[in-house]
Symmetry: D3
Subunit: 242 residues, 6 copies
């Protein structure tokens, strides 16, 4: 089984970290292919960049020329999932959803700890639309930017732990979701520090994708995610038609 | 006052129809500038095309080199509004929202009549996220594609009237919103046929935009719609940085 | 265009302040007529007084003997709007709704800052019923009574700014609505102090009313707001039948 | 124990029917006093009349000069309850609420069958505000006006049974609430015809009021229903101050 | 009228306290029969014990060999009500629901103060399912276990008062429900200390049960609570079939 | 990895069918152990039987004397999951939840097709409490009892297909969940007949349980699902303490 794990930003080191995390979570026989978009921002912390990422991810996936069995969109709270679901016949898993649906099996309420405060509304919106909001106790910001996670892992850990503890004590979360693809690998340390299960979205998404493939399930094509209709697509975007 | 009215598809005749409708609704002294994206699909009927349109609209607006006072995104149920709100300091009005908020002043519940069934979920999602869903009685599809509206205006009228009547009798709607930028101009006929107020989103959006400008109001920059942070943006998307 | 702006209490100086604010927000050619009810309380801070105001407003509007194009009910969170909508064929705009629907265009969530704590539930109920509650971050009380706003403008300003700041920092509001007709005119100062857009309901309502008139829209008469049925109305209330 | 049962319209024969129904449901030792408002409409089928009734009911209750232990507002879906709760120190029970809260003990979902379609939104709004909406399967209209219930009891019975049957089969209601004070007395026949429990709001309200009195409970005065503040009340309304 | 009041735990002294409280609230002529389950835990503070209690209560009620008119399940937030409703033809009242529905008549929002934090989610779930959640301001834990209420009544009182005060000041509750059958009898003292109405669920349930009986109402058998279908029931559980 | 798959009824042939289905879905190296409760009903179609099953399942699992890695409760809409989560340190997966969370990855809305109409409310309640209700388009009954599925597989197939088709055309479901453990194995045929993805809950639960184990995740013990406190448990139930 081959699963594409697509980073949403153009920072290759993050793609590599995500792919390592994904491969570690994968079952024997699952091949993980990490992809970095060809254009866009080096980190995504807002709607403008996220919309760019949405098409950059579609562009990258649609131009991948080998067969694959599933796609993981490895950005937390980003736009674009529904577009991929229309374009592809294999399952598409967003790590925002995978973390949330996994969290709900191990606790009554979960919180997400993410990077900057400005990304909180994006995550909330994505969870609302995917129907996984009801048991969300809170989405909390650590105050660190995506790229700071790589630069200052110690500081990042402390900031995330602090918010995770507040989520448990104030918001009654019983599970923590790590709300950024770039936090891959911190789950074990945060679990030890907080005493609650901690979900890494990339790992969770790998198991969801593998499960869908093994069950022979893929995106329903009867309505929302039906194949795009034939259109005249012009300008730069015409490359999507090749 | 100058208001940019941006079509979401690349069909110029639709841009012209939208701009005419907008100008007809505008107050004396309001200049309407119709813009057509430089890339994307000739009509938008799904998420893939809508995500393309999101950045095509941002691209077109950001490369407009004259001053303007507000922007109207003239697509029904399309992605992208939040990105424009981050990038701009002037008000941004989506016709989906403008139709809904206007409808709520003239009836207890409203329905949207749109084009194809596959666009219904997009409109529902947009209304949910903008907080205008609570009084939506239904979103109904006429079954006609965007471009068929232009080609067969008679047939379009009949199909829309039929769904509008069902919305009133079955779903208890008291107002109808025309759920497609391309329906601009049909409102009066449908009002006569159904006996309920009919809202054209483009016209409604013009009055909302003018009102915001006159009240000296624009997008709050304290959190969700703060200016994008400085980023390295590369590849094709680097043109956004110009 | 002539718009009736009806105060909900019997204090004439408040009517005048409201009318001035309305006129300042109005387009050229819009005539604002301020009306004071003939009976009721000199300020409205609870349900009993608000129910009295509901019929006092209907009474005043129905006995106005000149033509008019729209009515604005200039009380925040008061009863009565639906009654006016039944009785009239021109649009009716409540400032509670106008502030909220305008706020939603310039921020993801809004808070209302009102007078006494006891009026908070009234405002919440009105927003729930008009379908504009979903993006309300909070309704906060300044602790000052309606008439104290006039007597101690400085103290009022401070109390409102304090709650507005808490709404932004604690409740994640991105816009503030001034939740009392008597706060008309404070918007600019509070905007400077808090750094977020501030909505005066009276001004917002003027632009909404003007927009509805210009779009040729008025209350749907097919169900909820149909003209009252012929009835035997007796006792004091019979004056409504004249 | 003395309970005031206040009709909302000015039709004395309906007051008498309501009072009879209340007395039949009352415990030994409970005295029922039926009151008819001094002004207003002879039947309430909309917001205008309902707002008039709200103050007519308050007026009638406040001018009742004997002691009493509780008040029942015997109109379905009418305005005014919160005003009475402010003015009085004894419990206030609205028959809309009493029917709903009683229904929820004997079935998972209830439907209300009322008179004209135009009163449906009023009932829905009242149930939403009183927090009893969640288990409401539907509010259905029989199509008969309030006064027709008295004039054509046979026809009324048939029309109500038909809607009750649809509520059970289509909307999955397991209990029916009779949604009009004027339907008092029809419960037993409708129960026989539909096979589900049928709640008469007046009877239910009597038991709720008696229970509150016996438990020594009355309206909380800490916030929403605190006594009205001292005000200058003028004009016709000044009579409330006597 | 004979009402069975069934304790959910096996502690006989609690059964006696509950029965005393019930008898004190009962109308003349109502006979209260307190029942203690034959198996299960001596106090219920979690789902495992609560599920045991659910069948222990059914077992005890089904083996009671005298006629009775209603059953009260005297545990706060426990499982089992729906099972009793299926098995019996007389009304079943859970004290969780009775406290909440009574509270809603005397205040806009209510809070529940219960024992241990771990029981909070059970109470929340029960209120959600019974449709009485909408006006719940909060469910707060005093931190005392069920059996500590009996052992240290003074300490219990203080702990409950403290949470009740916070519910009023922080969560805007206007009424307090005592969230444990074992708190029976503390209502008057807590009311004096907090100044808001305080509801004892057992007392409230007695009045609800009496009201249903007097109104001739019992559980609808058309769907959710229909009599169990004939089944082969084996093993220990076969005793339910006798 | 060893996973216990516990049937909720006492019919051994259903246990065997469920276990076969589970083993077919399991990864290489996963051992499936099918368990049949020692007491209870031979099929579960209501709350009484479901409450019995809740403790019968706990009883069976707690007396299993070999190590295991996860438990699947293989009943649709049954009580008991939270009790197992308290008692165990390994993950617990209910097939109701597993089907729903899996469905949400492959379609925007899902419907459940179950057996008898009386089981519909149980399934709805379970989905509400587990936070997976938001995207549920409907729960539909085929009208066939659990044991009829085994007796008349052809008739069962037709009845389920008919409801699945209505769910797609009327309720806008894009995925179908088979709402009964006894439907295991029908998924492929129904998928072919309806053209939408069909989820078998047992298979889905196996992949969820395996994923949780592989990710090293288990039930959070900080609040709702903390280990039961030490109690005196007496009577029949004392066997749980062994």
């Amino acid at each position: 089984m081959r699963i594409l794990v697509v980073n949403v930003n153009t920072t290759d080191s993050i793609t590599q970290a995500i792919a390592r995390q994904a491969q570690a979570a994968a079952a024997p026989g699952t091949e993980i292919i990490g992809l970095t978009p060809d254009f866009g921002a080096d980190s995504i912390e807002g709607n403008f960049e996220s919309y760019l990422a949405a098409i950059a991810v579609m562009d990258k996936v649609m131009s991948y020329d080998q067969p694959f069995d599933a796609v993981i969109q490895a950005g937390y709270g980003e736009h674009g999932r529904e577009g991929l679901q229309e374009l592809l016949n294999v399952p598409v898993v967003d790590i925002t959803d995978a973390a949330a649906s996994t969290a709900m099996y191990v606790g009554r309420a979960y919180s997400v700890v993410t990077t900057l405060d400005r990304t909180v509304p994006l995550i909330e919106d994505r969870l609302r639309l995917s129907g996984l909001w009801d048991r969300c106790a809170s989405v909390r910001a650590s105050g660190l930017a995506v790229l700071e996670l790589e630069e200052s892992p110690e500081r990042a850990l402390e900031a995330i732990v602090r918010q995770a503890e507040l989520a448990v004590s104030e918001d009654r979360a019983e599970v923590i979701c790590l709300g950024c693809g770039g936090m891959a690998g911190l789950d074990e340390q945060i679990r030890q520090r907080t005493g609650v299960p901690v979900i890494d979205g990339v790992s969770a998404a790998v198991t969801v994708a593998e499960s869908l493939v093994r069950l022979g399930l893929s995106t329903s094509k009867v309505r929302t995610y039906a194949q795009p209709r034939p259109k005249v697509i012009s300008g730069w975007a015409a490359k999507f038609m090749r």
